[in-house]
Symmetry: D2
Subunit: 354 residues, 4 copies
């Protein structure tokens, strides 16, 4: 492990995933924050915008700058995280890559492979179909090698991460029937972003539980893309997200039926085996085991995802459960995991946090 | 409507559903609280145990007494609500009925028809199989006539109410496939009761979201019993309850597939029709319509259940949504709705609350 | 008590105090909602804007209209509640009074007597100094007679109500030293209003406790005005409001020293006596007594204010405690209490709520 | 800085401050957890009791043991943290010191200097008055040198830390009048401990704000002891703690009057100067400045305390504000700060956390 500092930029850092990313970069032993941009906060110090970071060694002198690509390049940044809204990131991605800066994009702009699916779920043609092709979908547990080599990583969405990690190993091994999947996810309010919207006020979300966005939440597109790759067939699922009165955390419950490979044998043992093969060496996926229910409170602030399952023998179904921090493994710390891979660092650098 | 006061007892009133029941009885224009019992609070005034009720006209002079059946009968009570733990209610139910007092039981002791199912889900033989048979499962939207005549009503559980009300009309009319049902419910912490248990502390439940109790939560027994009656066939479902950091409220999301009667036609129109037939005159069931998501915050403190649905055309599934107050329509106000029926009052008496 | 219905308008009903007011009017047996205005919601039904009210008898057919004074007058309304922002209410108050409609203003526009104090705390000259003089500061426990006769009532603010009710009887009887008062109040997030402001998002207020607005919160002006009247001397206090992660409720803690009349005797007995004289017949002020701490959870949704006190004999100070619902006794239900007085109804009509 | 690992024991680690301490020790680069005891969890692994720590390198193999002093000594532990209830710690402190193990006690057993005050506030005679004398009150910002040499450190309570840090520099410099201090503190629910008590249930604390414990909370004894030392005179204050619906965090608001040294000059400048002298080199005290309000959400999970102040010129009072994590700077991370001093490490080792 080289002890050098890697100059890093964060573009669009004033939202919740930007803030969590800055928090992690601040504590990362091999990162030098070279530039932090925000159109709305330009000129203000990081400590002023984020009082939590006041007094931090790397943070005190740093100010937000305008999101100018030449200015970012002039800092000598080798890598840029984009924590921008969907539809805004692609322009920066293209421009920064041209300037020789590797890009980790936290938006949805480069997560899809198929321009038609992009148009269906996000509206309008994708402006950079070639970059869309080039970008690696950044699930480090499944694409570590490609991430290491990537110029541009499209870091997965929060719901997708919580759904894909329990499902991918089981689909790959044929243990579940891809046509049978229904998903109920519960997310904290930070997932809706830091925007001035009266429906996101404390007095609206507190003491409230509700579904929303079904049947065609935008994240469904990348979820089904990755499930289909794993199943080697087109997979369609039913997905209902819910908004919970917690700041951070996603809890996902998946109902499915055994596939051909899951019938006849000891299903639970087969599942344990599939998870062990997939995640035995994955430092951030914790397999809790059968009849264990993950709790978001045990993963918030970390890059962990916890997974458990239950065989519902009365109905023949299999129930899968996961918990993650939507801003952590569902966004910022997962992006940092990709960063570690891209720059030849141990995957856990700066992510050893409990 | 007679203006007479009906002498009423509440047995075991120190928990959350007991408290909510007392709150409603206090505001009910035709109820006189004749006796309120609690082993642990005997001798204390209601205002002392429940400071919220301090100063209420009916409440000030009233004290908790020991749960003695003769003492209750001596007050002239015509009706007793049992807000006792499961396994304790049956003894009081039998004794009070013998003394000529009609019983509305909020526990699970009399909700099942089949002693074998009782033994499977609650353990041990039921001590009063005849009373179990006699007791009416108190869903007023489906059994109003039987409730009116009943000596003993078994008021439904919180999860069951939130699941049965959206499903029963659709099963009865064959619009959904009974074998396809999976349910994800999210409940507030009051559902776990007012017991000194470290896992229910504020610091444990706040900022936490988790599944529990799958695959065989006790409420599943009454849910499947009622679904089976409606479908005229044995129905088995997968049910996952979740614990949410709200005090009150249950949000339920149901995934299912269309049944024979639901194929071919305009499914959403058929659903709207089935709901209109079932609930057109039901004052407490509010059909929000297609693509509407109920929110627990709009029903807490009331006897309402809100219902919406979504057709997931990409997968061919139907998604149903409901919201209720677990202590309201899921417990105490629903029990009071049965009371109104039993005593010939308008169903909404004392329940006109927003 | 006349059984007639009083035609009533609510002007500016889309915020939190407007919503709470509508909720109470909806259940009030002698109110007919004649007009409900909202610039931003005009044309939408009340049930659509406030799903909680869906299905309510008085509510279903009612739509928001533009805040046009002639249109309001044309409905035959006898009374209008103004739930408008500060600085907007005075124009409607003047215009509606001219049209013969009595006004209950929930804003701060008419709470002060002294135009100079208004200018100091709210900025700019008051446009209607005569109306300002005429308006009655609507604390029913102290001004019932004037409220009965009033054309215009300025209903008190949330913090002021929680501070004045424990202090006024003690100041009037000389039991405390007016120069010694310091106040720490804790308010729920609904007090900040339903405005699209990123600092009020769930993810900002949840798991956060902080002071704000000291030393010169706008409410200080009316607090000191009323304290000065009671003390018959200029009173200045130190007041620190805090924002709490609850939807509703204000908890106030007051530190003060005994006054001349409070020295020598049994202070606690004197206090109990002063409260009994002031509130012995006040249906909404509950005196919990010495060494009792009010809890906001026992008053939310009601018009109650709970009051307790502690003698801190080690320091010679007196500690006073109160709890109210900032939207209830601190705003909407208190305004309705004035309405009852103005229209010759029992003070508790429509406010019997636990 | 030596790179050696210091063998460390935690006695009584199953509560909230024990858990936070373990979390920090786990990430501390120079600590080896030699023994972790808990009467109630003995035999279970740390990962099982605290699922959050699952997979942590130092944690996986470690099991809770019975709190046996010889067993602890046999591990070679050089230091023991006591996270035991008050009244239980002194016995372990004495026994472990005898066995040559330095002790950092998080309970109140050794915080007081005066046996009479101990008897008054905690009841009964202190069993080890000599150790009580020897123990250093562990506020590192004021007693770093004594802590470095100490065999036994009594780590301060949560309320005391939040009150002493803003007050001590001002009292020492005569800027405030010691007789004028009143304090309102607001604490999260974890401060009440992890005990099975129905009054601490989620459904009791959520949507609730209330004072408690005044006028003579146990923490008052150590607060006044330290204030008196700073003022070189007996100081008595009025202190009201409040319980808030947050998991962690204390927000403290202090009202006081200027002292002799604070009159005449520019008070705010004098205060800034006093804080700069006291905390200019203190890595964990962040002086936000005049008219700034600390927010608990910016310090939770860290060892920071944030301090701001306001001059209330209308009343001549000074208002001080602080925010800390009650489990962090108010308990476990502060204890670890003392540990760093005791073992010659940089004060910030293992505490660089945002």
């Amino acid at each position: 492990m080289s002890e050098r500092l890697i100059k890093t930029a964060v573009v669009g850092a004033s939202g919740y995933s930007g803030q969590e990313l800055l928090r992690l970069l601040l504590m990362h032993p091999q990162v030098e924050l070279a530039a932090v941009t925000s159109r709305q906060e330009a000129g203000r110090s990081l400590a002023e915008v984020f009082p939590r970071f006041r007094g931090a060694p790397k943070m005190d002198a740093l100010c937000f700058i305008e999101p100018d690509m030449d200015a970012i390049a002039a800092t000598g940044a080798e890598c840029a995280f984009l924590a921008l809204p969907h539809g805004v990131a692609y322009e920066f991605a293209a421009g920064l890559l041209e300037r020789g800066i590797r890009v980790i994009d936290l938006s949805a702009d480069f997560r899809l492979n198929d321009p038609a699916v992009y148009a269906e779920f996000y509206g309008g043609d994708h402006p950079s179909p070639e970059l869309m092709k080039e970008a690696v979908y950044g699930l480090p547990e499944f694409r570590a090698e490609e991430i290491r080599q990537a110029r541009i990583v499209a870091s997965p969405g929060c719901y997708p991460t919580s759904i894909l990690l329990p499902l991918l190993p089981l689909l790959k091994s044929g243990l579940i029937n891809p046509a049978s999947i229904t998903v109920s996810s519960m997310s904290g309010a930070s997932g809706a972003g830091k925007k001035a919207d009266a429906s996101l006020l404390f007095a609206e979300i507190n003491e409230s539980v509700r579904a929303y966005g079904a049947p065609k939440h935008r994240h469904l597109s990348e979820i089904e893309q990755e499930l289909s790759i794993a199943a080697e067939a087109v997979v369609r699922i039913s997905f209902v997200p819910h908004l919970m009165p917690v700041t951070a955390g996603i809890c996902t419950t998946i109902f499915c039926e055994p596939g051909e490979q899951g019938k006849g044998g000891d299903l639970s043992k087969l599942i344990a085996g599939a998870y062990d093969s997939a995640y035995g060496n994955a430092p951030f996926v914790r397999i809790l085991g059968e009849n264990k229910f993950p709790d978001t409170k045990h993963v918030t602030g970390t890059n962990h995802v916890d997974i458990g399952w239950v065989e519902d023998k009365r109905t023949g179904r299999l129930l899968l459960f996961s918990a993650e921090d939507n801003l952590g493994k569902g966004a910022s710390s997962q992006a940092l995991q990709s960063f570690n891979l891209m720059f030849g660092l141990p995957e856990t650098t700066g992510l050893f946090n409990y």
